[in-house]
Symmetry: C4
């Protein structure tokens, strides 16, 4: 766990460990997975054995470098051990070691490289919504576990009952409880391969009960989640808007209680440069506040730019419902969206806000006419 | 991109491009699809080859005319290029070109006409709720994508595991990873064809895990959507009621804050002429405000008409819960519905509203008696 | 359409048409269905041909009488035509006519009696929650229809694609588009019989897309419903509690706005005689108000009865959380349930209510001690 | 039903009946289930017949002792009869009697021991979330039953229709209505074994209708549950937080109405000793109140302990969003979690609360600096 010795190396490490490396890792994962798939297809393997193996070694080398860079980077913050012990660190280490160890222990080449499939787990930290999913599962762990227990109870009782009813008739398929469990899991999940099917009348009654229980249990599972998702969505949204709201001068005049309300009404959207936000002539259902970035209003004969803290799109909400100009971003921008419903509620509760928006809208209409 | 030269042509174009053309297009799509289906059924094709091909050419000609009309129409608004580049324009062009190009390039007649199936996509813009679905998918894109990633991870890991476990036993079905992926997708979606089934004990344990993961992942997918649908429904409803509320004088006396509240409580319904809104003697759970159109109250001995801005149905909510007269529309009408729950809440919050409704109800009862 | 001539007949008709006839109809439906099933099972039919046919004729005669009684009854209210034209009247008529007409037209006996299966539709009006389901479907008709359209589009596009890709390889199963549609519907609903399965690589890719679309479309379908169900449940609950709340003197002191709030917090439960409402020693999570009926409190050494308008169960909410006595109903009772959460919220908002409940609880504790 | 005679026995009974016995029972259930499974696998049975049977007898003896202990314990509270009549008592008695009675009545040994599968039901009372599931099912019983009725109607109508359409073509599989019902239940639940498949065109159209109805009915089922789950989750959460809130002095200054609000915003979490609550440098999205137990704050150079009633984690919410110290529990602790959204709303509504939290945060910052 030594501090990097050379500044040049440190700079290289920093550059590698940034956004570019993450992208390169995705490419390496995709290439590695494709190569693994080709490895199992005999014609492809015969034809391009060398290239496939070379590609896999290339990916492996990349992951070794990535691992080394991450360890170095962590070591700079005196946290190499913490990284190596973290879930991500363990995965990185495993990705690097699995195939070489398998090859070294004498495993057949094509079988050993199958272990490269664990590289695919490296995409997990980059999936934005997975943290939200995990929180939902944690918050609802108790009822979800109960559903799982119900599922397992039905599984066990169903398979023992079918074993008792069918094993004399069909010793090949219902001859043991594990065989019956295989039938039960395919039935309870409504997969229904049809390789194992009860044929006695009573066995079919039990099977029908298992199928209907399968739907019931699954219905419970899906019924539990929406509430938690609603709470998480509200929470995520608030965390994103809260920071931005304070940057919009328009809301500064509001008391803290109203700001908390407003933050729950708003939604943030991130837009790339030159994205069209509003198209002239379309019906308008929301207005926008600029949290960061800049937009360009395409008025007849001139272009007006609006920067951080400005708002636009309010005229369609106040007037005839149609957008009066094209508006697009000039650079990477974060906008706060206020839907018509919430706009009306907000204006109704705060007549002073309503007046200042009205005044601005009138000023703009005047300006455009002249 | 020329402006249409002749006023007569312009009028014809306008007429064609309206509601009638949309209906004709639906008929053409339905006929075209039926003909395409018949094309593949040998007995039908033998019997009516000429008619089927003629019908398909007829539909194609219709779509060519439709395309020309739309381009003309767009050109009049100097927007022909925008139309041709829009999703709809591309689809229209593709619908027109696909079959002729296929025929011209020497494809077999019956195969070429199969491309007519893309005509069916022309019904999409006419489906009223699709915009709402799309908004829901956009708002929840992030968690939905996470679920998709989870799905793909389970798919890949499951199929590699099954390949490793089963390819020696069943080289025909689990011989390559793509074959195993075919099994995995049929299993994870709980389709379960049963053409490829693991037979080793460990392979079945992996398969059971994949099936249960399938249910879990799908439960997450369905759990994400309700919140967004709730928000969209509220939004859609508000957009529809807000305009109408302002047209009802009864609500004019309310402050803007209350109007915003009321607009969220109301629901709009559009009724054709001579539709029965209220049936005498039925229990009443809501009252109605007329946003546009007219209704006729069938009182004993006389018929009373109520026009835009009037309300009715309040007597059952105030009194004995049973409707006291038949009421039906005289023409196309838009009504605002206020449910009993919200009626009570509204009356409780606004005693003056309660009084004026009460007074009107009493007046009506008196009138009916005399 | 004549008025019944004899008072005795009228009384008989009234008695028949009441609750008893409904129950008898359920029994007749159950018997008729069982007989229909037995009819198709050769051993049972051989053994008890006479009895089965006799039973079916018996049920038919019952339905004829039921039909006559209902017509008579409707005729007394001068509404016979309305009844015959209503959904229920048409079903009743069809139930009576279907089998005789089939027999008369020379159909084979066992086939003709299969038509008796439509009798099962007679149970529909008696299912309490179906009206709620129907309202949900009506309110959400638009997005549900969009989902159905999406479903049909995927169905059509998927089956044409599979036809094109597979009909050369598998002319027996993918030889026509209708055959491919059969595959598509079994796949898109994730039923997956496995009788028709694509075998070309590209066909399998299309099939995988169809399966995943199936899950996606179904997820949309289930995502639409919860919001509407929530609204319907709230509405139904309010309709039930609103009437009852006004009968409880305890709530009379509250203003109308609070009553509307309270009515949304309460839930009604209907209990048969001698049902135990509260069990001594159990943790208490709600209190009860008696909307109608009577309960008996089993105090040590004496039994106290509480009648309409009284409340009980508040002591566990205020004190140590455990029920202090057994309480059961003496007759058919309707109770209003107030959960602990809402109890706290209500008490916090209305200190005067809190005081009077507190005083009553203290009085009761004193009484029990002495 | 005698009172236990010896104090030593009573003490033994008490000890046995506690938490340890519950754990031992889980182990016995697991062992018994494993033995039952092995019993049906010929190689395992041949090899270890004695051990398997001995293990099963061992589990049975344990359950007999457990049963005796529970009866004794209930007898001490003069409630032995109540216990024996309760669901749990009946299950315990059945678990004890089933196998011996089966063996005594001359059933084959391996078949008789299959009855041991009912032991698995003993885990049910220990599953924490099942009460919540049951309450949801009770509250929504009416619409759920309607869905079940719809399901059964489709089942019956579908199978009679298929019988009529297919029994001439496929007498072996659609020869009787019960056979057709077997097809219908596998189709309506989307299981789709594929052992019975309609082959006539009309039969397939009916089958497609049944499949789509299956999705529709199941969608209704899952649509009903989320609302009730949301209400139950809110209720459960309130019951847990309400008690704890009163123990936090910080909330004592709030009026009862606000406390009821706050209790709905909080979530409780139970943590084992030495669990890390907050990790330095992570983004902070909530603050914590200690309802019971103690935490240790790992400040630079010293460790500070916070006990019951204290709060922490507020600094990240007020300041730069990053946690400034590691915090972990010292013993078993119950914490109340307040999410950032609710924190902002609460602070906005109660400026005095905001001030006192602010003051505490400043005091802590000062302290850390010095």
């Amino acid at each position: 766990m030594t501090k990097p010795q050379h500044p040049a190396l440190a700079a290289f490490v920093t550059a590698l460990a940034g956004r570019n490396m993450t992208r390169a890792a995705y490419v390496a994962v995709a290439l590695g997975m494709s190569a693994t798939v080709l490895l199992t297809m005999d014609p492809a393997y015969e034809a391009g054995r060398r290239w496939i193996i070379a590609l896999l070694w290339g990916c492996l080398v990349f992951f070794v470098v990535e691992w080394a860079v991450r360890v170095q980077q962590a070591a700079r913050a005196y946290r190499a051990a913490a990284y190596l012990m973290s879930g991500r660190g363990l995965l990185d280490t495993l990705s690097v070691l699995a195939v070489p160890v398998a090859l070294a222990s004498g495993m057949e080449v094509r079988t050993a490289w199958l272990l490269a499939v664990i590289w695919v787990l490296k995409v997990i930290p980059g999936v934005p919504g997975l943290r939200q999913l995990r929180r939902v599962l944690v918050v609802e762990a108790r009822p979800l576990l109960s559903v799982l227990v119900l599922f397992l109870l039905v599984l066990l009782l169903g398979s023992v009952a079918e074993y008792a009813l069918e094993h004399d008739e069909q010793p090949a398929t219902f001859g043991t409880i594990p065989s019956a469990l295989w039938w039960a899991v395919a039935t309870l999940t409504t997969t229904g391969y049809g390789d194992v099917v009860p044929i006695t009348p009573l066995g079919r009654v039990v099977a029908a009960t298992v199928m209907i229980s399968g739907l019931g249990v699954f219905g419970l599972w899906t019924g539990i989640l929406p509430t938690a998702f609603a709470a998480e969505t509200r929470r995520d949204n608030f965390l994103k808007t809260w920071e931005s709201v304070s940057r919009v001068p328009f809301f500064a005049s509001l008391g803290p209680s109203t700001i908390a309300d407003v933050a729950q009404m708003l939604r943030t959207i991130d837009l790339p440069p030159r994205a069209t936000v509003i198209r002239k002539g379309e019906p308008g259902g929301c207005m926008y506040f600029i949290a960061s970035g800049e937009v360009e209003v395409d008025l007849p004969g001139k272009k007006v730019r609006l920067g951080e803290g400005a708002f636009f799109g309010e005229m369609a909400l106040l007037g005839n419902n149609l957008r009066s100009a094209d508006i697009s971003t000039t650079g990477l921008s974060k906008l706060l969206v206020l839907d018509l419903v919430d706009f009306r509620v907000l204006m109704a509760r705060h007549p002073d806000l309503a007046q200042s928006i009205d005044a601005e809208a009138k000023r703009r209409t005047m300006e455009n006419r002249t």
